[in-house]
């Protein structure tokens, strides 16, 4: 057995912050981050849709960037901060997005929704002046089979406008 195989089959200890909590866990090296969150930590809000990086259902935040939980190994999160839909709901980060998604029915089955919300939150942070076409472009890595996207675009556009309004009032 060569070293690579040992590494593949071995467990290692990782130390990371998940939703503000310090986590120390032994994980198989090959376990991806979304499986780690779901299986080891019981954080089932991040979903497994395709396991090959296309659908976006497993989107989580690693430090300050959203990533595919299925294309990232848990060991790659060692020493880093992970935020999931559960944590970002509890700390209020997604509050306005969630309220408008609810009001506008920008979700149906809800399986894609955590990934869409995390993507939308990042988009609005990076591009506060985003328009409908840009929203569609930014979301093009998140598959939703139920809604046909229109309501999702409406909801994000409406939050973008409200935040711009709020920030101009603040000024």
């Amino acid at each position: 057995m060569n070293n690579n195989t040992e590494l593949l089959e071995g467990d290692v200890e990782i130390n990371l912050t998940v939703n503000g909590e310090q986590i120390v866990e032994r994980v198989p090296v090959r376990r991806n981050l979304v499986d780690f969150l779901r299986i080891n930590l019981g954080l089932t809000g991040s979903h497994v849709g395709c396991e090959h990086g296309v659908c976006g259902a497993c989107t989580v935040r690693l430090d300050d960037q959203i990533i595919r939980g299925c294309l990232t190994l848990a060991v790659q999160a060692d020493g880093k901060r992970v935020d999931t839909i559960e944590g970002l709901s509890d700390d209020g980060t997604l509050k306005d997005l969630q309220a408008v998604f609810h009001e506008r029915n920008a979700l149906q089955c809800g399986f894609c929704t955590p990934g869409i919300l995390l993507t939308a939150a990042e988009m609005l942070q990076q591009q506060p002046n985003v328009d409908r076409e840009q929203i569609r472009e930014y979301l093009s890595g998140n598959y939703c089979r139920c809604t046909g996207y229109h309501a999702i675009i409406d909801a994000i556009e409406s939050v973008a406008k409200a935040r711009r309004q709020e920030s101009s009032n603040d000024n």
Binding site: H47, G49, E86, S89, R145, Y149, A151
Partner: protein, 794 residues
């Protein structure tokens, strides 16, 4: 029941929720990632099952050596088809009312031969899914490859290999229908147009894959199954019947379902295997299909080749329609709904929006060595719509008539109802003309035509396409029950006034995101007279809910909604009986409004529901001796007047074709539809939009591409294209309301209307855009390559 329109009491209540876009109460936890999907269920002693699947489309299983796999880390057992067959009976996907349909018995795991690439032949039970998957390559199957039947067009050739030795040939079912004198009408017609429509195979790609956890308790001989399904009671019957259990000992629990669209209403061999294994090994077993398995094992849909022709007179009147349809359904007809329904629908529904006197249709359903095919959202409708709408536009072009005008000429007049289509479909109350008028106005049709012309002069090719459609909703037992299937067309609703004045509601229909729970709560709140937040709806548990069919064929709102309305009336009456005694007044003079017992005449508050419940539950000693309160009631409903409540509508697509690259850009899509009473306008619009985009997927992107030897060659999400946000336009919706008189509520279904008409609208827009080149396409999906080929530049 036929309702006199003035008896629609529920539509005229104070504080009514009917017609209001109330947000879905159950959506909040989904927004916070607190859903409860099957893969979230973890039970003590649970094992994971993974499957060894056939790499061949058709092969004999000579032997299976499981020894090495059994020694793999974490593996508890490896089970072959032969072993599992001792623990269940096979099923056969036929129905008596599809005369002549045949299919061979199917087992949970293949025993002697695998008939499609991806068919499960052995099951590995392991402590974790990873460990199970690691062991797959250690199962040694000795395969003997068999000749593959891939192409439906050669499946019936006398020298075609047979897929099943027990059957004479590869024909599953055939239906012929004729009315009028078609041959004479074609011979005499001014204009005849024809086309071969080819609708590619595509699939549902529910974001949550098929998922099941089975938990057999040997002590009580009780089976609990957590399943992502549309039809819990149907599955209860199937599990009991084919495992030899008492149906009362089987409980199916369905919590959140991550999309279904018809994918999750069938019996899948691998899911059944998980359940049988739970019984065999006396412990919980979880099976979650991964995405690659989903592509080769979820049902596929469509896959039709239709040779069709239409005769019209010079004034645009339809003289005759004739077509010959061929569809390949994989190696088995699915259980228990069969894989013949889509073909049957195409015969029944094609041209159903129009007055047609001469009609001839043939369909052949053939077995082949590809993935299983069955009913998927808008079963048959998109194909029926492509045939009629496509040919109608060809004819309009031929006689130089506007597509709107030729539709107005032939659509059933709005005052023609009740009436029947040429195939005998009964229409109670449709609104084709009103819907078309509304669409034309909404889209600014004339202005768009001008815009199109202006762009054309600049070398920019835009097209406008229309598609009128009908949709089957609110199915009676004529759909499945009469064919012998244990599938309930009726549905029920149980209501209970709880001790603090809240209303508990259990319904037989299920929620998969379409908003069932919200809509049922709106109806109950209105019917009883309470605020919606005081109604708690429970779905998806065969041990708790009334017996019902679940969610399919756009039946939730029209059927279970009516049961909810009726249950609400009875609970209201029973509450008022108690209040009447408490207040020493005639209960008929009281009403319930906004959760309060009020004087029916002037609306003044007399007491609260809370107080009624308190007295009824804690102080019934204060009631007269001959009075017993009944604050839990159940009502059921099934449509009786018509086999189906047809709805209608019309869609339009506006798109631009890049004639250099063949790329199609969708600019806008419109839909006007008529589902009768609209309970929640926002939810109906979102059903329409989601349905349209599913139709757009099949029209432009989605295609299960098979090699000649039956291998699915694009079975990943990177290769199989689904509609993503960037490709999809905004979609505008509007409604016309023609209520059904078969229920007090007057609601019909809306879940499939979008998918029914979208592909035809896009095809007509595409062919309109390409008309200056004399190019046309009728092979779906309309890929850039196909566009270029049609232009002669590909």
């Amino acid at each position: 029941m036929t309702i006199n329109p003035r008896d629609r009491w529920v539509l005229d209540r104070p504080n009514s929720y009917i017609g209001r876009s109330v947000p879905r109460p159950n959506a909040k936890r989904l927004l916070e990632g607190r859903g409860n999907f099957v893969d979230d269920v973890v039970l003590p002693r649970m094992l994971h099952v993974v499957f060894v699947r056939s790499p061949y489309a058709h092969a004999r299983i000579v032997s299976i050596d499981v020894e090495a796999a059994q020694d793999c880390p974490g593996v508890v057992a490896v089970v072959t088809g032969k072993q599992l067959a001792e623990h269940h009976s096979p099923w056969v996907g036929t129905l008596q009312h599809l005369k002549g349909i045949i299919s061979p018995p199917q087992y949970a795991l293949a025993i002697d031969q695998a008939c499609w690439q991806g068919e499960a032949v052995a099951a590995i039970l392991a402590q974790s899914r990873e460990q199970g998957e690691d062991a797959i390559d250690s199962v040694i199957v000795d395969w003997e490859e068999l000749p593959v039947v891939a192409d439906p067009e050669t499946a019936l050739d006398p020298d075609s290999p047979r897929i099943h030795e027990s059957l004479e040939n590869n024909l599953c079912w055939e239906r012929n229908f004729a009315a009028g004198d078609v041959d004479q009408a074609f011979a005499k017609a001014d204009v005849v147009v024809e086309e071969e429509f080819s609708v590619g195979r595509h699939t549902g790609v529910t974001l949550e894959p098929r998922s099941i956890v089975a938990d057999y308790q040997p002590g009580e001989e009780k089976l609990t199954v957590y399943q992502s399904t549309q039809a819990p009671h149907m599955m209860q019957n199937v599990f009991a019947k084919h495992l030899g259990l008492n149906e009362g000992d089987v409980r199916v629990i369905t919590k959140d379902v991550g999309g279904s669209f018809g994918i999750k209403v069938h019996v899948y061999a691998d899911e059944f295997a998980a359940v049988a294994l739970s019984r065999m090994f006396r412990r919980p077993i979880k099976f979650i299909a991964d995405r690659l398995e989903s592509f080769v094992t979820d049902i596929h849909a469509r896959d039709h080749i239709v040779k069709a022709r239409l005769a019209v007179s010079n004034d645009g009147a339809i003289e005759a329609l004739e077509f010959d349809d061929l569809t390949g359904i994989g190696p088995y007809s699915m259980y228990p709904r069969t894989s013949g329904i889509e073909a049957n629908q195409i015969v029944n529904l094609t041209g159903g929006a129009y007055q047609i006197e001469n009609y001839k249709a043939k369909t052949q359903v053939v077995f082949q060595n590809k993935g299983v095919m069955c009913q998927y959202r808008a079963v048959g409708h998109p194909v029926a719509c492509l045939i009629a709408e496509g040919l109608l536009d060809y004819a309009a072009r031929e006689i130089n008539m506007d597509p709107v005008a030729i539709r107005r000429k032939n659509l059933f007049p709005d005052d023609a109802y009740p009436c029947k289509s040429i195939t005998g479909m009964s229409f109670e109350n449709l609104s084709h003309h009103q819907s078309l008028d509304k669409l034309i106005e909404m889209m600014g049709y004339d202005q768009l035509r001008e815009e199109q012309e202006t762009y054309r002069k600049q070398g920019i090719y835009r097209g406008i396409g229309l598609a009128s459609f009908i949709e089957v909703t609110n199915p009676s037992p004529m759909f499945y029950g009469v064919g012998g299937a244990a599938i309930s067309a009726q549905d029920g609703c149980t209501l209970r006034l709880d001790a603090k004045g809240n209303v508990f509601c259990a319904t037989g229909v299920t929620e998969q995101g379409q908003g069932t729970e919200a809509v049922i709560a709106q109806i109950v709140a209105t019917s009883v007279g309470v605020p919606m937040e005081n109604v708690r709806v429970v779905t998806g548990d065969t041990e708790v809910t009334p017996y019902g069919g679940g969610t399919w064929a756009s039946r939730g709102c029209g059927i279970a909604g009516e049961a909810a309305a009726q249950a609400g009336h009875v609970l209201r009456d029973n509450i008022l009986d108690v209040a009447g005694i408490m207040l020493q007044t005639e209960s008929t003079g009281l009403d319930i409004q906004n959760g309060k017992i009020v004087d029916g005449a002037d609306g003044t508050e007399r007491t609260t529901l809370d107080e009624v419940a308190r007295v009824a539950y804690y102080r019934p000693d204060t009631f007269p001796e001959d009075f017993q309160s009944e604050l839990m009631v159940t009502r059921h409903y099934v449509p009786r007047d018509y086999p189906f409540a047809f709805t209608n509508g019309v869609q339009a697509s506006y798109l631009e074709v890049d004639i250099e690259t063949g790329f199609i850009r969708l600019l806008k899509h419109w839909c006007v539809e008529d589902c009768g009473t609209v309970i929640n306008p926002q939810l109906v619009d979102e059903q329409i939009r989601g349905g349209i985009v599913q139709g757009l997927g099949g029209a432009l992107f989605e295609h299960c591409i098979y090699s000649e030897d039956g291998q699915l060659i694009n079975g990943t999400m990177a290769d199989y294209l689904v509609p993503m946000a960037a490709e999809i336009p905004d979609i505008e919706c509007a409604h016309v309301v023609s209520m059904t008189n078969s229920s007090e509520l007057g609601a019909k279904g809306a879940g499939e209307a979008g998918t029914a008409g979208a592909p035809a609208a896009v095809m007509n827009a595409l062919n309109d855009a390409l008309s200056p080149f004399g190019a046309k396409l009728a092979t779906l999906p309309f890929t850039p390559q196909r566009v270029l080929e049609a232009l002669g530049t590909g």
